[in-house]
């Protein structure tokens, strides 16, 4: 991991997107104080993790890697165990979160009888029960059925926008992040490549031109707008640009004497961007 600089704000759902092994969980472990970084620091709600561990971590609720629970206890006993570790959580609050994650009917069964989706729900319950200011969920949609994912999305929105939580969600599923998050950071091989607002995503498009002199086209794009383009096939050039620039660029190409056979714009999704930035999903 190097040069990772992230800020998550209250009332924001922050997506952390990366391929398997990109460093998502390692980053999250560092934020949650499970790993000491060689350099750099983490502050939660203004408290440094190094100097004020207890104050910093008291404001965090998290699931890391997988929703591990004590299998030989019931769901409720698990929550009670963890509630005993902080002073704020009452039995009433426990009942409330159980209801919230939809586990009411199975909460008194032993966890080893739970499905992965149910464990995930229980994991979310223990993470939110202390009303944390920062909620960290590592791959929370794993094991959830489609209805469960929709519920999770609603739940996270409610927690973020109504209870002012800062929510950090990691995922390798692009569509999920695009649907769920306000801000996305894309991480690959331990480096954060780009942080962007999901709302602004539609502004960028991937455009492909078919021209007779692709090298000249690339040069023009670089020289005039500082846009990095690449030759995809024999006569094709591809680049990520702002939607409003397409006309200008086409005009310039024609003015410079390029024969423009056609021009195709794909509405840029997070997927295009992700693949563009990471150069394919290769596990490091």
């Amino acid at each position: 991991m190097r040069d990772v600089n992230l800020s998550v704000f209250p009332a924001e759902i922050f997506g952390f997107l990366g391929a398997n092994g990109a460093g998502k969980t390692t980053t999250i472990r560092i934020i949650a104080g499970l790993i000491k970084p060689d350099r750099g620091k983490v502050a939660i709600g203004g408290f440094s993790l190094d100097h004020d561990f207890i104050k910093a971590m008291s404001q965090v609720g998290c699931i890391i890697e997988s929703p591990d629970m004590y299998k030989f206890l019931t769901g409720m006993e698990n929550l009670q165990q963890l509630a005993a570790m902080s002073s704020r959580v009452t039995q009433q609050r426990l009942d409330e979160v159980v209801e919230m994650v939809g586990l009411k009917h199975r909460i008194n069964d032993r966890v080893d009888t739970y499905s992965l989706g149910m464990k995930q729900r229980l994991g979310i319950a223990q993470a939110v029960m202390g009303r944390p200011r920062l909620l960290i969920l590592d791959e929370p949609a794993n094991g959830l059925d489609p209805a469960g994912i929709a519920e999770l999305r609603q739940l996270l929105r409610r927690l973020a926008y109504e209870e002012d939580m800062a929510v950090l969600v990691s995922s390798h599923i692009l569509a999920e992040v695009q649907q769920m998050c306000d801000t996305v950071a894309i991480i690959s091989k331990g480096v954060v490549l780009k942080t962007l607002k999901v709302k602004e995503l539609g502004n960028d498009v991937v455009v492909e031109w078919q021209v007779d002199k692709p090298l000249l086209a690339i040069e023009l794009l670089k020289g005039n707008w500082d846009i990095a383009a690449e030759q995809t096939r024999k006569n094709r050039v591809k680049a990520v640009i702002e939607r409003v620039m397409v006309e200008d660029i086409n005009q310039t190409f024609i003015n410079e004497g390029l024969r423009l056979a056609y021009c195709e714009a794909h509405g840029s999704t997070l997927e295009d961007l992700f693949l563009n930035l990471t150069g394919g999903v290769e596990i490091v």
């Binding site: 499970l34 790993i35 971590m57 008291s58 404001q59 965090v60 591990d68 629970m69 165990q81």
Partner: protein
């Protein structure tokens, strides 16, 4: 802190390990009591047959015969010196009992309860402790639940301390139940009496000879408390070392395996103790504390109760320091 300890105790009880341990205890104590009862019967029978005694109720005659047997064994040239010194000490001890009119042959419920600890303090009880302690931390690491504990705004040392205190409490419970089960079971075979019988303690061995000048007679119940106190101390030490191993390794199986082999190695390292001084600083050869006060230990120059207690205490402190140091520093990657 109280609630953290409570959490750990709840987990321990729900894991059912304690019940398994108590079940094993019940079976072993019953078997041991039956064995004792049987062999006592046999000894009496054989002696009676040899000396033509019809009334086997007189323990003095039995004891006298045992002394004669031992004397004959000492005169035999086939025994090595090491074995002889043990026999000599035992013989002198028996003589002391005779002289002081203390019955060493018959077994009462109270005496059995003491003897069970004397026999199990160096291997059986420590094994049970390992069962309890070996997964206290490694279990959380293997199950991933350690992440839940360490991301809660509770410092790591507190989490570990609560586990250690829970372990001490459970060990106390095991000792208490050992006492309870022993008394209950042995009473069936030997009767529930014998609590005020005198027991001789304070035997010392110097140059292969038994010294009885410091011997005092204490009532059986008092001696029993002493023995159980020593047993608890040994269990705490073994539990602490086992706890340390469970902090250091991730898998419970590895943790149990390491401790098992360590304990077993102790039993055969013991045989080198007279000639080789290094092993005597290992905790596992110093666990027969009760043998020092009952005087039944193979005499080894330089090893006495104080020495063994010091070695054990040193191991305990070291294990605590290592456990806390490593647990508060380590990266959690599960």
């Amino acid at each position: 802190m109280y609630r953290l300890v409570q959490n750990e105790v709840v987990k321990m009880l729900r894991k059912k390990r304690l019940y398994i341990v108590l079940g094993i205890l019940l079976i072993m104590i019953s078997a041991f009591a039956y064995g004792q009862y049987h062999s006592l019967d046999r000894t009496r029978e054989q002696l009676a047959k040899r000396i033509g005694m019809t009334d086997t109720g007189d323990w003095r005659k039995l004891a006298e015969q045992q002394i004669i047997d031992m004397k004959n064994r000492l005169d035999s040239h086939y025994m090595d010196e090491e074995h002889n010194s043990t026999t000599r000490v035992r013989m002198e001890q028996l003589q002391y009992y005779l002289d002081n009119n203390i019955n060493p042959v018959d077994i009462s419920g109270a005496r059995f309860t003491t003897r069970f600890i004397e026999q199990s303090i160096y291997l059986f009880l420590p094994l049970l402790m390992i069962l309890l302690a070996a997964d206290m931390v490694s279990g959380e690491l293997a199950g991933g639940t350690v992440k839940l504990l360490l991301t809660r705004g509770v410092p790591r040392w507190k989490v570990l301390l609560s586990k250690y205190i829970a372990l001490l409490l459970l060990e106390l419970n095991v000792v208490f139940f050992t006492l309870l089960i022993s008394v209950a079971v042995s009473g069936i075979f030997f009767g529930y009496g014998g609590w005020t019988e005198p027991v001789a303690t304070g035997f010392q061995v110097a140059a292969g000879k038994l010294i009885t000048s410091n011997v005092v007679n204490v009532p059986q119940w008092q001696y029993l408390l002493m023995v159980y106190g020593l047993a608890y101390f040994v269990m705490v030490v073994v539990g602490t070392v086992s706890f340390m191993i469970s902090v250091l390794v991730k898998s419970t199986a590895a943790s149990i395996g390491i401790m098992l082999s360590t304990l077993v190695s102790g039993t055969f390292l013991s045989s080198f103790l007279a000639d080789w001084t290094l092993p005597r600083y290992l905790f596992m050869v110093n666990m027969r504390l009760t043998d020092y006060i009952s005087g039944s230990l193979r005499p080894i120059e330089g090893m006495n109760l104080t020495f063994s207690l010091t070695v054990l205490a040193a191991w305990m402190v070291a294990a605590i320091v290592v456990s806390f140091w490593y647990f508060t520093k380590r990266d959690i990657l599960v």
